[in-house]
């Protein structure tokens, strides 16, 4: 929703996003949730590679599944956001692409983690690391608009 200051209707709309979009809280929640989940997966993978204790790999599998669920929610919101026609469109597109890459690689990572024992490695750890970086980037970009304050 875009609110235009009184008397400013003739000027181009600049820094006019005053209130969060509808559903922004849920969007932010989904987006933020991907970071600790994918980070947990990457850390669990690291623990498996350093201990050979296979339970870490099981943890990573579930954390990845969780990251994909919340990441899926974030993608839906990001897709809706693409329809907006304001100056943030380019940024939203970047955020959306980051999310999509995160989710796609996350899914492949989940399949890799469905392999048995050490067959998940080293691909699984590598993918988990890339995915967590992408989720941080997507969250960083996505959050840039949640912080917008009303213009004075």
């Amino acid at each position: 929703m875009v609110r235009i200051a009184a008397g400013a209707w003739r000027k181009p709309v600049v820094s006019a996003v005053m209130v969060p979009r509808r559903g922004a809280r849920l969007h932010a929640f989904f987006l933020a949730a991907t970071v600790p989940l994918f980070l947990g997966a990457a850390l669990s993978d690291y623990a498996y590679t350093s201990t050979f204790e296979v339970q870490w790999s099981n943890f990573a599998s579930w954390l990845l599944a969780g990251g994909l669920v919340f990441g899926g929610g974030a993608i839906v919101f990001a897709l809706v956001g693409l329809a907006g026609l304001d100056h943030r469109r380019a940024l939203r597109r970047v955020g959306f692409l980051l999310l999509l890459a995160m989710w796609g690689l996350g899914l492949i990572d989940a399949f890799v983690h469905a392999r048995d024992a050490w067959a998940t490695m080293p691909t699984g750890f590598l993918l988990s690391t890339v995915v967590v970086v992408l989720s941080v980037a997507a969250t960083w970009v996505g959050f840039s608009e949640f912080g917008a304050r009303p213009a004075p």
Binding site: V54, S61, F96, G104, A114, A117, A119
Partner: protein
């Protein structure tokens, strides 16, 4: 974004490709292709249907009839001295699901099996007048826990439940247990990923051999879960004392003593997820003290890189099995033949193959005969009972245990149609 999608889709679809030619993988020296590690495993789950008027196919000069139907998951059978047949019925396992994959795999695999609840009992079948019809069918013992392996030594009937080795008293003609069984020893049962406990008695009856499967495909439940698993125990029939007889046998699903040599033989199910033509299930004489590779290596000293930490010392000691039955056929029964089975099938073993699931082109789903000469396998396997999976792609039965009746009959347990089949030479 489109490219990412296409990549993901291609990877997923590529994994479903159906091109896995059946390598001629029989005998003592099978060709072993390179290991594959796909994103999604190839699968072809049995699509069950009823037999109707159809019957499994047998060689010319033989006939097949169902002698008992409507059983509750029949697995192994035992021919008693008076010709009665004991059938062990049950379904064990029930390990907890650890990963998202376990939920998916359990759901998919269940589609290819019978929905019937396991009977946890022994059923006795009797053909008193020798006309080939088993007119008496009665419960010999119930309240068991997934019974599987059966052996008779003199007046003692041994039954391997999924968690214990039991002993019943038995005399000829008996149709019902005379009292509750005595527990000879507990058997390893934590998790019980491979739950079946196969059983054979030594020729002199003093020792029992119990086949105990691994607790995972390839150690994905951790090494601690594999203590006392993937091995054959030798158990003293009177005291219940046990020791490992041979190790590294991933899932020794059926054991048999060879007439004459009195050596122990086993069929063993090997590991999955290395490709459609790895790793061959096998038939082997079991060497005392022998190590057969699992989990560190397969078919002798081919290292399996999925197992960490590695154990080169164990790999160096790994024995090659005697005879490859082909990858993923799922051999679940083995029995030595007798001259009463007819001249073509007099010397060798029958092997019940439950049939594959993790392979695009299904294999197994039949009973094969492996011919022997001079006490060793000689020549490729011959189909003896086939047609469990029809050319229409539907599966009507899945063979498990096989027993040879000295009077001249092969008894086959089918745990999909819950039937006992009897194959006899036409007289």
């Amino acid at each position: 974004m489109k490219r990412a999608l296409i990549v993901a889709t291609t990877l997923a679809l590529g994994a479903c490709g159906g091109n896995d030619p059946d390598a001629a993988q029989y005998g003592p020296d099978p060709s072993l292709p390179d290991r594959q590690s796909r994103l999604l495993p190839s699968m072809e789950i049995a699509n069950p249907t009823q037999w109707g008027a159809q019957r499994p196919s047998v060689p010319a000069g033989y006939t097949i009839t169902p002698i008992a139907t409507g059983l509750a998951i029949p697995r192994q059978t035992l021919i008693l001295p008076d010709g009665d047949i004991l059938v062990a019925e049950g379904r064990g396992g029930g390990e907890s699901k650890l990963r998202p994959k376990d939920f998916v795999a359990t759901y998919i695999k269940a589609k290819g099996t019978s929905p019937v609840k396991g009977g946890n009992r022994l059923t006795l079948l009797r053909d008193a007048d020798g006309d080939g019809k088993y007119e008496l069918r009665t419960v010999f013992a119930d309240g068991l826990n997934a019974p599987y392996g059966l052996a008779l030594v003199g007046g003692h009937l041994y039954v391997a439940d999924q968690d214990a080795l039991l002993r019943f008293d038995y005399r000829d003609g008996q149709t019902r247990e005379s009292g509750p069984p005595v527990k000879l020893t507990d058997l390893p049962s934590a998790i019980n990923h491979h739950w079946t406990k196969s059983l054979a008695a030594s020729a002199d009856g003093r020792l029992l051999y119990v086949g105990i499967g691994s607790n995972s495909n390839i150690t994905e439940r951790g090494m601690a879960a594999e203590v006392d698993r993937a091995m054959v125990w030798e158990v003293d029939a009177t005291t219940g004392a046990h020791r490992p007889y041979a190790t590294g046998l991933r899932n020794p699903t059926s054991l048999a003593i060879q007439p004459g040599t009195q050596r122990l033989w086993a069929v063993v199910n090997e590991r999955d997820e290395l490709g459609p033509n790895l790793v061959p299930d096998y038939l082997t004489a079991v060497r005392e003290g022998g190590f057969y590779g699992w989990p560190y290596s397969y078919w002798g000293q081919h290292v399996d890189p999925r197992v960490k930490p590695e154990n080169p010392k164990q790999v160096a000691a790994a024995l090659r099995p005697d005879y490859s039955l082909g990858s993923h056929v799922a051999a679940l029964g083995v029995a030595f033949s007798m001259p009463s089975m007819g001249p073509r099938f007099a010397d060798g073993v029958f092997v019940g193959e439950h049939g594959s699931w993790n392979r695009h082109d299904p294999v197994g789903y039949k009973v094969v005969f492996v011919p022997f000469r001079d006490g060793r396998p000689a020549g490729p396997p011959v189909d003896f009972v086939s047609g469990f999976r029809g050319s229409d792609g539907l599966t009507r039965g899945r063979p498990v245990g096989v027993s040879v009746d000295p009077r001249g009959a092969l008894i086959v347990a089918d745990d999909l149609s819950n039937t006992i089949w009897r194959v006899v030479p036409a007289r």
